[in-house]
Symmetry: C2
Subunit: 350 residues, 2 copies
């Protein structure tokens, strides 16, 4: 089982090191190879996704990613910026299914800015389409009009099979959960999402046990705040999913805890924390590695079909929390405040 390990920028290297440590502690037959991406890719090879990194990722069964981005690259030309590396690897590996759980750990309920009764027990899975939509649609760009003014355009675009394959992921996952899928669109305004809704309805015929509902994206943004526990699985396009999955993760108040998976059609996947590269705290050994460690658990579950070891990691994370270990972002009075590395050790020990 070959894993490409791409630490990336900011806190990426420290948090990924903890996940690697946890994976090694399981004594599985894993080959892990490191390569640079994002700003680190630019530094090493003048490219946020160096050819060698892409090749390694293609040759591997799974990718473990830290995070990309740092303000110091803000001035680079668009195609050299760290996030380009991220967008390109998603597209090159055809990782169309982004799974973003929003799960509230009982120990961390207080971290939410929402009232406990609204979020306690929250366990929601957002499935975001990741290789289509306005992120990749052509035509796009900034041009100059006849009157000398600049104009920007981008194209939202989905075809039937793209919608169907992400819908299938959502329905399949719902079958293993509470059998409810809420498809989010803006079908009252955008024809692209009118097609999205039609295809979801057609597909639902194959999943008679799953209850399919539809919600406009503006309403979904409200309902996530009003009553987030009404949702089981939410499925939506790339841009709406970008917004809603971040909103949903913030409901928990502890985005340092939330993993993510991005899968292709054969369950090859890239696994990364939902949070960013946090360059302001990089290198200080204070970052929370749990989201990355939990991403490694998702890797075992989705790519290597090893539910037992996935659960083992997840339980170890919970145990470390129950034992009072906390990094600074989730610290509370009386906790056992530890750094990034020590949190990794606590999970290994647990």
């Amino acid at each position: 089982m070959k894993i490409a390990v791409l630490p990336g920028d900011g806190i990426g290297p420290e948090i990924v090191a903890q996940a690697v440590k946890v994976l090694k502690a399981l004594n599985l037959n894993l080959t892990m190879t490191e390569a640079p991406i994002g700003g680190a890719g630019y530094e090493a090879a003048g490219d946020p996704l160096p050819d060698a990194t892409l090749q390694l990722a293609k040759d591997s069964d799974a990718v473990l990613l830290g995070a990309v981005g740092d303000w110091k690259y803000d001035k680079l030309e668009r195609h050299l910026r760290p996030e380009r590396g991220l967008l390109r690897i998603r597209k090159e590996l055809n990782l169309f299914a982004n799974l973003r759980p929003a799960l509230l750990y009982p120990e961390l309920a207080g971290a939410s800015t929402l009232k406990p009764e609204i979020v306690s027990g929250l366990d929601l899975m957002i499935i975001r389409e990741l290789t289509g939509d306005i992120y990749f649609g052509q035509p796009r760009g900034i041009s100059t009009l006849e009157n000398g003014e600049r104009e920007g355009i981008n194209t939202m675009r989905y075809n039937e099979s793209e919608i169907k394959r992400i819908g299938r992921v959502a329905f399949d996952i719902a079958m293993k959960r509470n059998k409810k899928v809420c498809s989010v669109d803006k079908a009252n305004v955008l024809e692209t999402t009118e097609l999205w809704r039609q295809v979801m309805i057609e597909l639902s015929a194959e999943y008679p046990e799953v209850e399919l509902s539809h919600m406009y994206v503006d309403n979904a943004a409200m309902q996530l705040i009003r009553a987030p526990k009404q949702f089981d699985v939410m499925v939506t396009g790339n841009i709406f999913g970008d917004i809603l999955s971040d909103e949903a993760s913030m409901l928990t108040g502890s985005i340092g805890m939330l993993p993510s998976a991005s899968l292709d059609a054969n369950n090859k996947g890239m696994y990364e924390p939902s949070h960013g590269s946090a360059p302001d705290i990089a290198g200080k050994d204070i970052a929370n590695p749990l989201a990355t460690i939990l991403s490694a658990a998702m890797m075992l579950r989705y790519t290597f079909n090893d539910e037992a070891n996935a659960v083992k990691i997840e339980n170890a994370c919970k145990k470390a929390l129950a034992q009072g270990y906390r990094t600074a972002d989730i610290a509370t009075e009386g906790c056992n405040l530890v750094g990034c590395n020590a949190m990794g050790d606590a999970v290994v020990a647990a």
Copy 2:
């Protein structure tokens, strides 16, 4: 001063009647004329925006709108559905600037699903561009590809002058508030919003006193939950504004309280509650008319430049709340529960 009164669908007629009552009580020199829109327009003239309604709106100085939409029109062809009337009137009247305040009334702090310390004193103004972006961009539609599959496309599109004029509205309003503008975009992915960001930066040179910041839309969706009071004025495009303004309004927990204004370049405006037509409670005299009454206050402020009477209405609404009057949506134990009509009377009395 001519006002077109468009009650629309669902609870529209009842809530608009209260705002009309309040305006009449002020004894101003107003001519108010009613016309159908949305489902009501379709019933009356087979068109969600009948010609006569559009003409009346064009001939008036301001439009007071209730709400449009009812499930019973869901099966109509796209161009006949109620929301088409809304989108068309925005475009026909060139109402490019949508002002959506999210204000938490101290008496209603408990209604929020967020913790009191996070939202108490919240007073945020979202400025949403309303006549451009992917809502209106061409090309758009669903077509059949060569391989027989359907494909949907929509076009996000902004030119410089569209961005500049909405930016100006945001900066001007910030000058009367706390002099902070946060411009929301997705400049790391979408070129259209890269242009948006550039134009905002250029424009900010004319407003040296205003502090301009930029935020990606996914982060904005998080920050609204994490720490909404960090914002003063937020400005963004049509689709992001649709999502974020609904999210922000739900932070207050009482969207029955939130008005909105949609202005053209000469402060002609359409005023309507931020909430929808709620057909499930229509005709029961239980809807909350305060958002519509407060929209009438915005009308006096922005179109008729009558700050004194605007404040008079706003104070009367606050007084009615302070006196304990509550409609069902904002009721709490021990309050004076009243219907829609009685709430209108309470505001008139106050």
